[in-house]
């Protein structure tokens, strides 16, 4: 028996694992109750079981039903994936600061520059540091104008140690 659709095989597994996870936590940690007196675990237990069951069906069909192109998943775009998510995380960490590693809040301006540079690296072919820096300056100025001046949102602007 061979995998006829990679995509379906993987999604089947994904649904079985998440459905199973919800089922397991519902039964082990929460009261189930009965249909007339449902506990906090009742609905998630039912839904978790159904999800796992559906995952099983999807998995089964992925092994049985022929798909034209083999349902290939294809290459993972690691670079855009890591850059976009990393840019986002860096923005959050710099804007809010991270107590755990003793990073103070660096403010919106620093966060914008970091986000722009990291995100721009996602498209390696078009990356050019000077252009990206110009873009980040424009975005920082624009964000200041729109979000701070115009909309009056409350966020730290500059690094903590400079602002005070």
């Amino acid at each position: 028996m061979s995998i006829k659709s990679e995509k379906d095989f993987a999604s089947g597994l994904l649904f079985i694992v998440t459905g199973g996870g919800f089922t397991w936590v519902s039964t082990s940690s929460y009261t189930i109750g009965s249909a007339s007196q449902m506990g906090p675990g009742y609905v998630p237990l039912v839904l978790g079981l159904v999800l796992a069951l559906l995952g099983g069906l999807i998995l089964f069909f992925s092994l049985v039903v022929e798909t034209p192109d083999g349902g290939k998943i294809g290459d993972i775009a690691w670079r855009p994936l890591l850059c976009i998510l990393g840019a986002n995380l860096a923005f959050g960490a710099l804007l809010g600061g991270v107590n755990l590693i003793g990073l103070p809040s660096m403010g919106l301006m620093v966060a914008i520059v970091a986000l722009t540079v990291i995100a721009a690296m996602a498209d390696a072919a078009a990356f050019e540091i000077r252009r990206v820096l110009v873009l980040s300056t424009l975005l920082a100025a624009g964000s200041y104008g729109v979000f701070i001046s115009l909309l009056g949102l409350q966020m730290p602007l500059w690094p903590e140690f400079l602002a005070s």
Binding site: I58, L85, F91, A120, G152
Partner: protein, 503 residues
């Protein structure tokens, strides 16, 4: 003439100069952000929501209505020019709209989208005003069992729309429902599935899920594509207005789309989406006139009808929201959030307790529509210009707007981490061919469905047959079953494929 008196009340509230100005500003901002590729109306509203916090409720809702319509129009613009639908209801607009843009007819396509939306919006508003009263009375006949049945129908409706495998779509709904349950259980006060993370006790933020799966997931998938797939059409745009011939083709299509949209919009669970798909399918059935380009190759009817249906549906989808308090789609769910922030609880009581606000809201929807035409038709050229900005400049900006938007909803860094997680999930779903729209709807309806299910079965002393012994509930479930059977029938199965695969 109750209707006229009510509308007059609405106008006296909504049409003051200051409120008109808010509508204008909202519309402008909405279009400006919504026109950026990869940002749908959902992300736009989420991003601009904080801007309305300081306003009085009516003004805030009017500005939101402007933002909503602006964003939707902005979404259609990117659908037509970049072949990138901002939300599921503009998916079909990309088919013929993009082809028109490639032929240098982006202007007429955009104008057609704007004009059809406006017409459909007017009809939808009138219908909403006429039927809101009687339907509110009907809402009182709804018990918990009926609410459950209605939500099931809505979710099934979302499945019928998913493009891939039916099983996967149902699994995505269930996954969405489960994610919606994360957080504190209302009845027992127990924090469920929070992994001991305190921020999760209030549940997973809706904005984080929407922005992560739709915003970041899309951007990553876009960047992974090779250059030609995300080409922006800036090629010669000749003439902005549709020709007389275009109008002749458009008018019947708009009428059909509006009728279909008004009816289907009432269905909770992506009524507007269903409407735009159904309208497109209908247009494909209509016989071509002599010399007309077939649909899928840049026919103006393929833009006008779904846009009209989409907008009429968006308007009538307020009916379940205002009468039953059930958000029919993700955008409306966000509007519910906005209303709650301004201390308005959507539901049958709004109309009786606060008629000024109710009618003001309905009229402001219409004003939002009007602003769109007044403002955007002359400015089509400007929006097209905005799209000539290369993608490597745009996407860092989009990532930034998403991050700021997510951060400002709660002023919490945790949300940014959460959105990154859902971005990862969004890309995974994309890779595995799992449609994310059903997940989002399931996520919105999850807690509500659980609540009503609990109540229904408590009243019935645990007897599941309550759902089929109550006539209204049985009827709703029968319709849901009918939809599933229809999707499974081989003849329709191939048609459904046809409506989604357009090459």
């Amino acid at each position: 003439m109750d209707l006229l008196a009510n509308l007059a009340t609405g106008f006296s509230v909504a049409a003051t100069p200051i409120n008109l100005m808010y509508a204008l500003v909202g519309c402008l901002l909405g279009t400006l952000i919504g026109v950026l590729p990869g940002i749908g109306p959902l992300a736009t509203i989420a991003m601009l929501l904080p801007a309305t916090y300081a306003l009085p409720p009516v003004s805030a809702l009017i500005m939101l209505a402007g933002i909503y319509y602006g964003a939707q129009y902005g979404g259609s613009t990117t659908a037509i020019l970049v072949n990138l639908p901002g939300e599921s209801s503009s998916v079909v607009t990309t088919i013929d709209g993009y082809q028109m843009a490639r032929q240098g007819r982006a202007g007429p396509a955009l104008a057609a989208a704007g004009l059809s939306s406006f017409f459909a919006g007017c009809v939808g508003t009138l219908l909403l005003a006429a039927f809101a009263g009687p339907l509110t009375e009907m809402a009182f006949a709804f018990g918990p069992a009926e609410y459950c049945a209605l939500m099931v129908l809505g979710l099934v409706g979302a499945v019928v729309l998913a493009s891939g495998s039916l099983l996967k779509a149902i699994a995505m709904i269930i996954l969405g429902l489960l994610l919606g349950l994360v957080g504190t259980d209302v009845n027992s006060g127990i924090a469920r599935f929070t992994l001991d993370i305190p921020e999760l006790t209030d549940g997973i933020g809706f904005v984080a899920v929407a922005m992560g799966v739709f915003g970041y997931g899309e951007i990553i998938a876009n960047l992974a594509k090779t250059g030609e797939d995300r080409e922006v059409f800036t090629a010669k745009v000749q003439g902005l207005m549709p020709t007389r011939e275009d109008f002749r083709l458009m008018v019947p299509a708009v009428l059909r789309g509006t009728a279909l949209g008004s009816v289907l919009g009432i269905l909770p669970g992506g009524g507007a989406v269903l409407a735009s798909f159904a309208a497109y399918t209908l247009e494909k059935k209509v016989k071509l006139k002599a010399g007309e380009v077939p649909l899928g190759q840049g026919n103006i009817r393929g833009v006008a009808a779904p846009e009209a249906a989409n907008n009429a549906g968006a308007q009538t989808s307020f009916i379940p929201l205002l009468t039953l308090g059930i958000p029919p789609n993700a955008v409306m769910a966000l509007m519910v959030g906005a209303m709650t922030i301004h201390n308005i609880q959507p539901g049958p009581q709004v109309m009786t307790v606060n008629p000024e606000l109710f009618w003001g809201l309905i009229v402001s929807m219409w004003i939002g529509n009007l602003m769109l035409v007044v403002l955007n038709l002359p400015m089509i050229g400007v929006w097209i210009k905005l799209l000539t900005v290369p993608y490597h400049f745009l996407f860092p900006a989009i990532v930034l707007f998403c991050a700021i938007g997510v951060y400002t909803t709660n002023n919490a860094t945790f949300d940014i981490a959460l959105v990154a997680m859902f971005g990862l999930a969004g890309y995974l779903f994309h890779k595995l061919g799992c449609e994310p729209a059903p997940l989002l709807l399931g996520f919105v309806l999850g807690p509500m469905l659980e609540e009503y299910l609990k109540r229904a079965l408590k009243l019935a002393r645990g007897d599941w047959s309550v759902f089929i012994t109550r006539p209204l509930s049985a009827a709703l479930l029968a319709v849901a079953l009918l939809l599933v059977v229809m999707v499974l029938l081989p003849a329709i199965k191939s048609k459904r494929k046809e409506a989604f695969v357009e090459d």
